[in-house]
Symmetry: C2
Subunit: 129 residues, 2 copies
């Protein structure tokens, strides 16, 4: 189990990688892990090197991995990638839910609960994953 720490920097890289249409498209195409970087590059109106850079960004964000096959480098989207992004959103959401509740708590006179924002996340329902 990936007790993925998800540091702030990791979240930065994650969202930054997702903030580009070309990179999102690469993610869509590489679920099956059958495309080499040069095959991929054929699909976009930019140079091979540019696509290579995009793949590097995705890789450093942990969204794809590469595997050698002969002289090609096959790119594969990490199946858990979206889960990680979703988790980052959950944590944001939890943080602000906790903030609201702490405020309400103060107003209601509750004090037993220390600032423990022990947000048991997962209370999200639509998780069809």
């Amino acid at each position: 189990m990936v007790v993925d720490e998800l540091t702030e920097e990791a979240v930065d890289r994650l969202f930054h990688a997702l903030a580009d249409a070309t990179r999102r498209d690469i993610l869509r195409r590489c679920v099956r892990g059958e495309l080499s970087v040069s095959r991929l590059a054929e699909a976009y109106p930019m140079s091979f090197a540019a696509v290579q850079k995009h793949v590097t960004v995705l890789q450093r964000a942990g969204l794809v991995g590469k595997q050698r096959r002969g002289r090609e480098q096959l790119v594969r989207t990490d199946p858990d990638a979206v889960a990680r992004a979703r988790r980052a959103l959950d944590e944001l959401e939890n943080a602000w839910r906790a903030r609201v509740e702490r405020m309400s708590g103060l107003l209601a006179g509750e004090e037993g609960a220390d600032g423990t924002a022990g947000p048991d996340r997962g209370t999200r329902k639509g998780q069809d994953r």
Copy 2:
């Protein structure tokens, strides 16, 4: 209703806005909508103008809104903000699930798959800017 289309550009702005620790922190703080920009600015080791710019980025991404109160401008995180980000992730995920299934479909001889990757969209009152 002009369904809040979530264009590629909108997704770019969304994820780009989320890809910065300061901006994510602003989101966390502004759920209650009680903080003015200058109050906010006190919390960070940067100038007022810098924070102002961050707020603008968040606003253009549809993540926060501003409301005047006297001479202050109160910043409030849009409660549905995370939902929209989550939806962007869902669409990414759906797109590649569809891709996998189309592949499997070909192999299995199934024909039901129509490449429709654009399912129902939640109807968020599309006001932006």
